[in-house]
């Protein structure tokens, strides 16, 4: 441990009360996946509020950040971990790398609708909320004479084929939450049906969240399923894009946590308090940031046009069982990857055939063809495991390692099984759809 840190620790032990009353100062090291546009204004505001502090911001993508904290725990030099979705925080929490801290913040509710804002055990704290929606490039859409979307279901319709992009839930915690929300609202079977239906229209499944708005901004793809601030910040930067919240969406939080054995724990906690305070929350209004505050009172002073998620009509009713979500977190990721991401070509082919069959039926209604199309759709929507199985110890154990059971399947085996399942079903769906097309002609 460095000399300075020894002093701080000794002081903290000997004079706990004095330490608590001491103003924060010194260097504060933050590992974050947020861009400079976000961290900059917070840094400026915090350093102004607490002169004598300096924020040293280390940008890393989420995964690198988590691994870094893991590898450097023996001589930890990081005070705060600051990222979007909870999954990274859950990993760190599970490995005992975070310190529980209940922020001193008034006016911040525990939940928004059914969705918790903070970790119930207090290891990480939500400081901003965002919603998921659809973003599109107006030039692309105009040039190809495509429609403007309103709802998720729109994305599954024929005109959108090969024009949409989204990130894989395994690579983007926020996208995962969106998928999970669909599964919880519509139910396992129907939910996956919806997801597969619009996935069949995807041009690409990206491996990082920012890949989606990036492609939409460049005009390489027409529509993207994105978190709202990607849409807003792109507009703010001048790109020809538009954004819409569907009427049923997801709330995704952004979080911050204090790392265990933080070198400057006092300042770290002060920072957490700060960003939940009124001036801290006001920073979110910066046009380059455009995140939504968790402090309900802040909305009174919000700039025009900023939505208030606490008042979204669907929020109060939206169900979200956090435990359920966490339990089947990895199986859902793996299911998506094996059934969709890595079988994308067959899925697209089957979906395209279905669209063509639909178009033919619309011109010349045909009962047999309609039946075949329905069967094709069902084949696509079919799942290799039901909800209970997906959450079972056997399957979740395969992913975390060590379900304890002798005959338990390994992750690779499960993945191969699911991949084979998908391949077979999509091929069958393609055959049915082609048969339908033939029948309708």
């Amino acid at each position: 441990m460095s000399f300075t840190r020894r002093i701080v620790c000794a002081a903290a032990i000997v004079m706990p009360l004095a330490a608590a009353a001491q103003a924060p100062s010194g260097k504060l090291t933050v590992v974050t996946s947020f861009s400079k546009e976000v961290t900059g204004p917070f840094k400026a505001a915090f350093e102004k509020a607490y002169p004598g502090t300096t924020l040293d911001v280390q940008n890393r993508n989420t995964n690198a950040g988590v691994k870094f904290i893991e590898e450097t725990k023996s001589n930890n030099g990081v005070d705060l971990f600051w990222a979007s979705a909870p999954d990274a925080f859950e990993v760190l929490k599970g490995k005992g790398l975070l310190e529980a801290y209940k922020a001193k913040a008034e006016g911040v509710p525990d939940k928004i609708g059914q969705y918790p804002i903070h970790d119930p055990e207090g290891f990480y704290t939500g400081f901003a909320i965002s919603g998921y929606g659809i973003m599109w490039n107006t030039r692309y859409v105009g040039a190809q004479k495509l429609p403007e979307p309103k709802e998720w279901q729109d994305l599954a319709t024929a005109p959108y084929f090969d024009h949409v992009s989204m990130a894989a839930p395994s690579r983007s915690g926020t996208t995962h939450l969106t998928i999970e929300a669909i599964l919880q609202t519509a139910g396992w079977e129907k939910g996956w049906g919806i997801v597969k239906a619009f996935s069949g229209n995807l041009r690409a499944v990206t491996d990082r969240s920012f890949g989606v708005p990036d492609a939409v901004n460049s005009g390489q793809v027409g529509y993207g399923i994105v978190i709202d601030f990607f849409g807003f910040s792109a507009q703010g930067a001048g790109f020809p894009v538009k954004f819409v919240y569907p009427s049923l969406s997801t709330i995704v939080p952004a979080n911050i946590a204090v790392v265990k054995n933080a070198p400057n724990a006092a300042a770290a906690k002060a920072f957490v308090d700060f960003i939940l305070s009124e001036p801290g929350q006001a920073v979110l209004f910066d046009p380059k940031i455009r995140r939504l505050p968790v402090r309900t009172a802040s909305y009174d002073k919000a700039p025009d046009g900023l939505p208030n998620p606490f008042k979204f009509p669907w929020v109060a009713n939206a169900k979200f069982d956090v435990d359920k979500s966490e339990k089947r977190f990895q199986p859902v990721d793996a299911l998506f990857d094996q059934l969709i991401t890595f079988q994308h070509e067959p899925l697209k082919a089957a979906t395209k055939a279905i669209h063509e069959a639909d178009a033919a039926i619309a011109k010349k209604p045909n009962a047999e063809a309609s039946k075949l199309v329905a069967e094709a759709r069902a084949l696509i929507a079919a799942m290799p495991v039901n909800e209970a199985e997906a959450a079972s110890a056997e399957i979740t154990g395969a992913f975390t390692g060590g379900s304890g059971k002798e005959k338990a399947p390994r992750q690779a085996e499960l993945e191969q099984k699911w991949a084979a399942f998908a391949k077979e079903k999509y091929a069958a769906a393609l055959a049915k759809a082609e048969a339908a097309l033939k029948a309708a002609r």
Binding site: K36, D56, A64, T72, G173, G401, E413, Q416
Partner: protein, 566 residues
């Protein structure tokens, strides 16, 4: 090791020491860190103990098998396309009095430098489905070409990206051919392409194979390009995706990495086999090198034309990068909406430190590479210390190790070691330099090996006969004769180190220590930062371009001096 070999080694303690030093270097900065991470491939998930069941799973999984064959296919095709691009440039610049020769050789290196993220965006904006070329094609002719789609898209981008490796190695080999070989053939009636095919190219084969095998392995192990194109059924991106998933303690990522390493080593071994017995060292009579002929009219048009096409194609991404750095908004249109200098202003005010760091890190890394590469090449080709070949294999294996694995390995191995200043060893910027050096070593090693192969052993023996020690001989005879190859190795190491990101990202711990690539990454995280990221990318390319040009001038002047007024 029998008594005779032992005696031989003890008789030349200097060489044994060098071998030992290199072995320690590789062990400390490559093998041990990698093993600490890859060991997970041999352990059951979440548990400990040794098992090969993960490898059985690998071969049983359809996705992985498919990825494996796709990777082989893509690598082989990339070599083919890269050869088509490199051959005319190498041929024209080394065989003719080509005024722009040095410029061409310099520009030929630039495609190696594809700044991360920004380069990808630029490529999409030019060649993507709705990029410049396709928008214009669609408007004019009503069709689009899928440059960047699927496996063929990967082949296209990889060939453009890596063809300089073949160009550089081939050019060096061509420059070193004894002129009399060519004249004897001309004297017997052979000329033009036949001459090239029957005499010149076979003699340049060692250089070509060095470059081609390097391209094959690099493409096989490349994950950045497939991910850029969203092509995921190749081995390297599969490994990367699994290793970098948050939370999933998945051994398969490391299993795939092990498969990558083994496959790369096998490829290297095969290429060495192919070259066995083709020891074409020619005694340099005052330099030699192919006679440079003046360019006839018809030839000139052909030459300039071909070179122009190749250069335009391979530099297009950088042109795109340049446009992007000056662009206000560029979205779904052949050209940006407007131009501005604001990005450069922003970058210059922020990034002086990044530039200094980049030149320092990349320069040091390239230097280390050339020194270690020459040492290994010498040990393998001349000394025959038992086990020297394994040093070669170990160094080349670094190609297959994903940068993130190396970064994690360094943290795992060295974070606990504290320097006297209280800082952890892993946080010291020297570790970034070492990570860059290790990842680039395979390229430099191949260049040094090819260069040494073309220096006849008799030239060294002559020096020793006159009383020079091994060390002095190396310094005064061998190294000067290897200048071309050494420069090539330095340049490729430097160029690629200047834009490396994956290992850097893990190891950088304060922005004062960060190189350009890192600054670029930070900018590219938001839509408004695109222009600035591109500006930084352009600066990186310029830095490398200037250094390459200088080094090529030095080499050319050196060769001219050696050739005299022949």
């Amino acid at each position: 090791m029998n008594a005779a070999a032992l005696r031989r080694i003890l008789a030349q303690p200097g060489q044994a020491l060098v071998a030992l030093a290199v072995a320690l270097f590789l062990a400390a900065f490559l093998i041990i860190p990698v093993i600490t991470v890859m060991i997970a491939a041999f352990q059951p998930k979440g548990g400990s103990g040794f098992t090969l069941v993960n490898f059985a799973d690998f071969f049983a999984t359809d996705l992985f098998r498919r990825s494996f064959f796709n990777s082989l296919y893509v690598s082989a095709m990339s070599v083919a396309v890269a050869t088509v691009l490199a051959l005319p440039l190498a041929y024209f610049t080394t065989r003719f009095d080509f005024r722009g020769a040095v410029i061409v050789q310099t520009l030929g290196v630039i495609p190696l430098i594809m700044p991360p993220f920004a380069g990808a965006v630029a490529m999409q904006l030019l060649f993507g489905r709705n990029g410049t070329v396709n928008l214009l094609l669609d408007e004019a002719f009503g069709f689009k070409i899928g440059f960047m789609e699927g496996l063929n898209g990967v082949i296209f981008v990889e060939a453009l990206h890596y063809f300089p490796l073949i160009l550089i190695n081939l050019s060096t080999a061509l420059r070193n051919i004894d002129r009399a070989m060519e004249e004897a053939a001309q004297n017997l009636g052979c000329s033009g392409f036949r001459l090239f095919r029957r005499i010149v190219f076979p003699l340049a084969m060692p250089g070509y194979v060095a470059g081609a095998s390097l391209v094959f392995i690099k493409v096989f192990d490349d994950l950045a390009t497939p991910l850029l194109l969203n092509v995921k059924d190749l081995l390297a991106p599969q490994a990367y995706l699994r290793i970098t998933s948050v939370g999933l303690a998945d051994p398969m990522g490391y299993v795939i990495s092990v498969v990558l390493i083994v496959a790369s080593l096998i490829a290297m071994y095969l290429s060495l086999l192919a070259l066995r017995g083709k020891d074409y060292a020619t005694v340099q009579r005052g330099g030699g090198g192919l006679a440079k002929r003046p360019l006839g009219r018809g030839d000139a048009i052909l030459a300039y034309g071909t070179i122009l096409i190749v250069l335009v194609l391979t530099l297009a991404p950088h042109l795109g990068l340049l446009l992007l750095s000056f662009a206000t908004i560029w979205s779904f249109s052949p050209l940006p909406d407007g131009f501005t200098l604001a990005h450069y202003v922003q970058v210059f005010s922020d990034s002086g430190q990044y530039i200094v760091n980049t030149v320092l890190y990349a320069g040091l890394a390239a230097l280390i590479d050339v020194v270690v590469g020459t040492a290994i090449a010498y040990l393998v080709l001349r000394v025959g210390v038992p086990g020297a070949k394994w040093l070669d294999y170990a160094a080349t294996a670094a190609l297959a190790v994903p940068g993130v694995v190396l970064g994690i390995g360094y943290l795992r191995t060295y974070f606990g070691v504290t320097l006297p200043s209280g800082q952890s060893l892993a946080a010291f910027w020297g570790m970034i330099v070492l990570a860059l050096a290790i990842r680039r070593l395979p390229l430099a090693l191949r260049a040094c090996t090819a260069a040494l192969q073309q220096v006849a052993a008799s030239l060294e023996e002559a020096a020793e006969n006159l009383g020079a020690t091994k060390a002095r001989t190396v310094r005064r005879i061998v190294l000067p004769l290897m200048t071309g190859g050494l420069a090539a190795g330095f340049v490729t190491s430097f160029a690629t180190a200047a834009v490396e990101l994956s290992a850097t990202m893990m190891l950088v711990q304060s922005s004062a220590d960060a190189p350009l690539a890192y600054g670029l990454y930070v900018f590219m995280q938001s839509p408004a930062g695109r222009g600035a990221g591109a500006a930084l990318g352009v600066i990186a390319v310029l830095i490398v371009g200037v250094c390459t040009y200088i080094s090529n001038r030095i080499v050319d002047g050196d060769m001219a001096a050696k050739a005299g007024a022949h």
